[in-house]
Symmetry: C3
């Protein structure tokens, strides 16, 4: 089953690929790899939630942040699809190689892996074993527009 | 027009490639890709400005930080040129693939994209459409030597 | 001399490859590159030290953090070995391409390069000139499980 069919089975659809807001592009193919730009959990071009993630002192709960990491990943799939020609280009992905997940973290919050699981779980849901990737999860000070999470993907295409 | 000619037309010249200060190198080629080390806005080996970037509470204004991101990018081009043999090796670059821009951010500063545009705009000025890249912009706690920005590049060579 | 022989000569042995704790894997090969997940300085599955790194205000001294960066790098070699089939797969590495070192940094700590030298020095000890890599060192707010350091590697294999 292709990635798009699997998305449909999961009740998901690719959002419109977010547009870059400066002199960059959302994804670049080089050889058999596609590198995405850092993806925010934008929905219709806006962030529904902003602030730092934390258990107690954060503006955003880890559970909410995990959902946002899933949304950001879906945007990542959309920009990969667009970079591969759109309309199912995503089906050319043969392996997710690397995920880097940045979590805007309140002091003392060390649960970044649980947050970035929102991204990782979606990728495995969509691609199965081929969705398992190398991953770094990092707690940063601030993210663009006040986003609680930002994720970037590297995938291999056929 | 090659990258070096375009730099000259912009009134810019490649600085001497900054030297690594430890057991690493400034850029590595693997296959058709060159990965640079994180570049600081060093000029003649020194940082002219240090501190955190912010609108009000920062030590460094976003506008100044954007200039620094441009300087760091120029250093990045210098180390790529050197890694490709120097003396115009940079002209072998066929595409800028990825930029990661780290901005040392004061609390509440979320304008990292505007800062990293200093890098992105330079790359498009020099390489034209081939300079458009995937990009992540992230706000971090601290950077080496107190630098306000650090940028790393991945480029594709012929 | 192969990497494993060199490790033995240094009095080191590969630890058991740390296991991922979520839906990702510890390293992925794509073409001639292997990307590792972010490695923590786990020993027998646990962190011996946690907290932020700093000269005075940190929980962890830069010297201790440098040791931790070495331990994390050793874990990185273990996961590369495992990804390449184990039992000496590491000897297929022909070049270390890129290291990204994240240092959980107390306010005002700007000595990230010295910390990440713990990783860089080990790689040169093990691989010689082929161990010299491009590198970024960044000071972040928080890391998973309270780890003071996290390092990820990209290597080229034959």
């Amino acid at each position: 089953m292709g990635a798009l069919d699997r998305l449909a089975e999961l009740g998901l659809q690719l959002p419109p690929a977010p547009q870059p807001v400066a002199s960059y592009v959302t994804a670049v193919r080089t050889g058999d790899l596609v590198f995405t730009s850092g993806q925010l959990p934008l929905v219709d071009g806006a962030l529904g939630v902003t602030g730092l993630v934390g258990e107690r002192d954060g503006d955003v709960s880890p559970a909410t942040a995990k959902e946002l990491a899933r949304t950001a990943a879906l945007n990542g799939l959309a920009v990969i699809d667009a970079a591969l020609g759109g309309s199912g280009g995503l089906d050319a992905v043969v392996r997710v190689v690397k995920v880097t997940g940045f979590v805007a973290s309140a002091p003392g919050f060390t649960g970044q892996p649980g947050v970035v699981n929102g991204t990782s779980d979606l990728l495995v849901d969509v691609f199965g074993e081929a969705g398992r990737h190398a991953r770094s999860a990092v707690g940063v000070a601030e993210l663009p527009l006040g986003s609680p999470v930002e994720v970037e993907l590297v995938v291999e295409v056929a």
